[in-house]
């Protein structure tokens, strides 16, 4: 019997701390699989951010750096400019990337910094117990929008891929989702392509992954996947926003 599926080498063999059913775990595996399949674990430096995935430096088998909240793209820039031949990625939540880290992601993108960004959009701040994120959907109840997000009061959710793709820097930007098998497979291709874009020296790549936070959504893991499909995908359409025709 042949092994058709097992944990990738680039994912350290220890339990992860995420809540039951949280898709952070899937996203981690996809990144690790890409490192395995592209055989780049040994020359990759990953940058963890601040969010539920703050300590994924324990989980990824490549060299890792833990960055301050929102600053992973700046840290990654420092790394890439020091080690231009290495592969550098950040792994950031939507609070991290789209709120406090707005300037850093916009400018890394604008510079066309040759790094890969894995962007977990779960429409909420997970780690700090469920506050509104810039990506929180209208009417969504969070601990800081107890009466639901209101466009007038809190603004409309930000679509990061759409915004960044107005810049000239990004070589490749795609939004994928982790809510079912088909989409996980597509997401995997997107993640892999993002790394390939970097390997080819094409510049900035970013993959947004629509994810769940069962705990702070107050839903069970299955309901959470449904919410991604039924509520999130409408506002956050999947697809390639930059680099559609890019071959790598």
């Amino acid at each position: 019997m042949a092994v058709v599926f097992d944990r990738p080498h680039a994912l350290v063999d220890i339990p992860m701390h995420y809540c039951p059913g949280c898709t952070h775990g899937i996203a981690h595996r996809l990144v690790a699989e890409a490192l395995d399949e592209l055989d780049i674990e040994g020359r990759t430096v990953g940058v963890s951010s601040v969010g539920c995935s703050y300590n994924n430096y324990f989980y990824f088998n490549c060299d890792m750096i833990q960055a301050a909240h929102g600053r992973a793209p700046a840290v990654a820039t420092g790394v890439k400019r020091s080690l231009p031949d290495n592969i550098v990625f950040t792994y950031q939540g939507d609070g991290d990337l789209a709120a406090i880290g707005t300037a850093e992601i916009v400018h890394a993108a604008a510079r066309g910094e040759n790094i890969t960004v894995i962007f977990i959009n779960n429409t909420i701040y997970g780690m700090t117990s469920g506050q509104m994120a810039p990506t929180t959907l209208l009417n969504q109840v969070t601990t800081t929008t107890p009466y639901g997000r209101d466009a007038k009061e809190h603004g409309n959710p930000i679509r990061v891929c759409e915004m960044l793709s107005t810049l000239k820097g990004p070589a490749y930007i795609e939004r994928a989702s982790l809510h079912d098998i088909k989409n996980i497979k597509k997401a995997k291709e997107a993640v892999k392509k993002a790394f390939k874009v970097q390997m080819a020296g094409k510049g900035f790549s970013l993959v947004e992954l629509l994810s769940t936070c069962p705990t702070n959504w107050g839903l069970d893991p299955l309901e959470s996947l449904d919410r991604v499909k039924n509520e999130m995908m409408e506002y956050y359409p999947l697809g390639v926003f930059a680099g559609k025709d890019l071959e790598v």
């Binding site: 350290v12 674990e41 040994g42 020359r43 990759t44 430096v45 940058v47 963890s48 703050y54 300590n55 430096y57 324990f58 990824f60 088998n61 490549c62 060299d63 890792m64 750096i65 833990q66 960055a67 301050a68 600053r71 700046a74 840290v75 990654a76 820039t77 420092g78 790394v79 890439k80 400019r81 020091s82 080690l83 290495n86 300037a103 850093e104 916009v106 400018h107």
Partner: protein, 352 residues
């Protein structure tokens, strides 16, 4: 002997960094230290180095954090408000035990303040403007020549102790031109960088650079290790200059460009027949308590002179420990103390 050039303090810092092997500079413009960036922008591409203008000071310090994590010699520079913005990043770099050099060419504050020279970020630099129990090595040059030498030393100390070293200067030092004598070769400390995150090439366990330790027992151990290191540094790295202290009845304590003015005062006072000396801290952290132990017996009083409201004053009092009176005079907001004013204070102290 090496080159002899008339250069601006800020440019000397940049040149010294490059000579010390720094090939990565990340910064954001701010007066009165923009020339550091201008110099780097011109020179770095020529020596195969990286000059990158960050989108902000916050980004700059985090780029430094990234480059330092890979084991490279890296530097950033700014002035007071910009340094305030870097406090989170400085605390992170200190927590993660990363070597890096940060230059603060101080200007008048608080807030947007002014752009004239000041020393009012002393507390921020020496006590920790960021959160948590950490220290920076803080070097306070007082001439262009010393800017050069201490900048080189800063890189060495940073590497040696895996921590952030800060050059604390002011607008006078950054903007003034003096002749600087460059060495032919710099004394560069080769430090172990096996901890760096630079790709393990499948040859070792993966390295991790981090400042987070959620188990408080672990974080405490980490902190204890930091404190032990600080203790070692405090024992080994105190630097200071004693100028005519042997017979001094009053010892002025001053650093940076104020120490230059204080030297004038020592001359003027001695011409008047008043025996004044100068104790010039070169390391502000560790504060040179040893210097005070050397001179404590002789003088009747100490006089701290600062371009701030009396910040180093506290360290002087902690060093003197009530054994002699400690006086203070200073200017603020970009005003520079005058020889006459300091002389007046000295006469006042003697009259007491």
């Amino acid at each position: 002997m090496g080159e002899r050039l008339l250069m601006k303090g800020n440019e000397v810092i940049a040149e010294a960094a490059i000579r010390a092997g720094c090939r990565h500079y990340f910064g954001y413009p701010i007066t009165p230290q923009t020339e550091i960036a201008h110099y780097m922008a011109k020179k770095m591409p020529k020596v195969g180095g990286v000059f990158l203008q960050a989108e902000s000071e916050v980004s700059a310090i985090n780029m430094v954090y990234g480059a330092a994590s890979t084991g490279k010699r890296v530097m950033t520079s700014s002035s007071s408000p910009g340094i305030s913005l870097k406090q989170e990043g400085i605390s992170y770099a200190s927590g993660a035990q990363l070597p890096a050099v940060i230059v603060n060419i101080m200007r008048g504050g608080p807030g947007l303040g002014g752009i004239q020279p000041s020393q009012s970020d002393y507390f921020q630099a020496t006590k920790g403007g960021g959160h948590g129990d950490y220290h920076l090595i803080v070097l306070a040059p007082s001439s262009v020549q010393e800017l050069y030498e201490l900048t080189v030393d800063a890189f060495n100390l940073a590497d040696q102790y895996r921590m952030v070293a800060m050059i604390l200067g002011d607008g006078v030092l950054g903007q003034m031109m003096e002749v600087v004598n460059f060495r032919d070769e710099e004394p560069i400390v080769k430090a172990d960088k096996s901890w760096a995150a630079s790709g393990h090439g499948m040859k070792r366990e993966h390295n991790t650079v981090t400042s987070i330790h959620l188990d408080p027992a672990v974080l405490e151990q980490w902190n204890i290790a930091l404190q032990d290191k600080y203790k070692t540094i405090s024992e080994k790295e105190q630097r200071f200059e004693l100028y005519k202290c042997d017979d001094a009845e009053i010892i002025i304590v001053a650093y940076g460009s104020v120490a230059r003015i204080a030297k004038n005062v020592v001359q003027v006072a001695r011409e008047e027949g008043i025996k004044v000396g100068l104790l010039r801290p070169i390391t502000l952290w560790p504060f040179p308590t040893k210097a005070f132990e050397q001179v404590i017996d002789k003088p009747n009083a100490f006089l701290t002179v600062e371009m701030s409201s009396g910040q180093m004053l506290e360290d002087v009092m902690l060093a003197v420990k009530g054994r002699k009176p400690v006086h203070f005079t200073g200017r603020m907001g970009g005003m520079i103390p005058k020889v006459d004013d300091i002389m007046a204070k000295i006469r006042e102290i003697r009259a007491d």
